[in-house]
């Protein structure tokens, strides 16, 4: 039963980008089309599950002082694997995602789960946690991608669904539309779930512990100094 919980928490309750506000860059960048969002989401899910399993297995071997570089190398290895596979079997998706495929390496969701979950838990829960978080990420990407594609081009997964009388609003597939749609989606989720609104800050970042440890994180400075 508890295994089930590890899986489902990532979907909605602790959704990595709508609730935890992590991994904003790919969420905004690749979601001009729903299909790209799906491809990016599934690639990230694969890397997340594999890296969670690997890190959970290696957690006793990796010394804690150099754990972040070790995690990053493990993650980068899986990312290279995924991008070579996509280049071979899905070249269209490979060129659509472009640089952001390599940048899965520095996606803070993956490093965050390695640091917060996989390094403390057994293999099976870590794999389920990775799967749930990855699918939650995919869900958001497809949602944002669908809204932007439908309003921006009048299509959904490449099929025209908007009637001709409604002119597509190009704004939605421009970068500005990405920020706006993601903001709106988070606002709607906050409203439905009656969640206390969260600010994007470095406390969400997996590196925050290193900053706070030295007591010099800019975010802490802001809190102490009151409103700037």
């Amino acid at each position: 039963m508890s295994y089930m919980k590890e899986f489902t928490k990532g979907l909605i309750k602790e959704n990595p980008n709508m609730v935890m506000l992590l991994g904003m860059c790919p969420t905004l960048a690749v979601t001009t089309m729903a299909i790209n969002g799906l491809g990016m989401g599934l690639s990230t899910t694969f890397v997340l599950v594999c890296s969670n399993i690997a890190i959970s297995l290696l957690k006793k071997i990796i010394p804690s002082s150099v754990r972040l570089p070790c995690y990053i190398v493990v993650i980068a290895g899986f990312v290279t694997f995924v991008s070579l596979m996509l280049q071979a079997f899905l070249p269209a998706l490979y060129s659509a995602l472009g640089m952001f495929l390599s940048l899965i390496t520095v996606n803070c969701i993956i490093l965050g789960r390695a640091e917060m979950f996989a390094s403390k838990n057994k293999v099976l829960p870590s794999a389920l946690d990775g799967l749930g978080m990855g699918l939650g990420f995919t869900l958001t990407l497809v949602l944002v991608g669908s809204v932007r594609e439908i309003f921006g081009t009048g299509q959904w997964f490449g099929i025209t669904i908007m009637p001709d009388v409604i002119e597509p609003m190009t704004l939605f597939i421009l970068p500005a539309g990405g920020f706006f749609v993601l903001g709106t989606v988070i606002a709607v989720v906050n409203r439905i779930m009656k969640k206390k609104p969260r600010e994007i800050s470095c406390s969400n970042c997996p590196n925050a512990k290193n900053c706070f440890a030295s007591g010099e994180c800019p975010e802490k400075e802001v809190k102490e100094g009151g409103n700037a």
Partner: protein, 200 residues
């Protein structure tokens, strides 16, 4: 002359038309996370610019001197992220030991930069655009300055937002993202500026 013109085009494109944050969506986390104060935006922007320029200087010889001769170009992500992580750590230690004033103003942002996708992004972009060493450095510098400029502008916008009465569901992240959307919209206005200045 031709070279200077090309470099100016690369620089201005990086700062204005292809701004890293507002049109390429790189480095969104620090852009949204640290921009709530003017001074921290300036420090973060300067630190990112510095690391970007150095990272492109370091990764260029590694790619063309090590990875290409060995025929393992596909290892670029792993090699680059390792080099950047090591380099950032090194800079932090050197600054802390030898230049404490600089460490206090820039060094505190360094741990955040290792996982900043803008730094890895700029090194990969230099490869895809096939820039030589000088062009890579100029492009990285432009990207860094563009990042800093976007952060400073946005810090001003957020200063105003802090005093506004915002609907409850929109407060926090949503209103920040919507404000970023409007700033990004303003940057669309720069489209074509560089081409017109240089008649390219």
């Amino acid at each position: 002359m031709e070279l200077a013109k090309d470099l100016c085009i690369i620089l201005l494109t990086g700062i204005l038309t292809e701004n890293f944050v507002l049109s390429k969506f790189l480095g969104i986390c620090p852009f949204l996370g640290v921009s709530n104060k003017f001074s921290s935006s300036l420090g973060m922007g300067a630190a990112v610019t510095f690391v970007m320029v150095c990272a492109s200087l370091v990764t260029y010889p590694i790619y063309y001197g090590v990875l290409v001769p060995l025929g393992i170009e596909y290892m670029n992500t792993i090699a680059f992220i390792l080099v950047i992580a090591v380099f950032v750590q090194l800079v932090e230690m050197v600054l802390k030991k030898f230049v404490p004033p600089l460490y206090n103003s820039l060094g505190v942002y360094l741990p955040l930069i290792t996982t900043n996708c803008a730094v890895l992004g700029v090194t990969l972009l230099n490869l895809t655009k096939e820039y030589d060493l000088l062009e890579s450095v100029v492009n990285s510098f432009g990207a860094g300055v563009g990042f800093m400029m976007a952060m400073l502008i946005f810090a001003g916008v957020r200063g105003r937002l802090a005093e506004c009465n915002i609907p409850k569901a929109l407060s926090g992240a949503p209103i920040t993202l919507m404000a970023a959307s409007i700033v990004s919209l303003a940057f669309i206005g720069f489209g074509g500026v560089v081409e017109n200045i240089f008649g390219a």
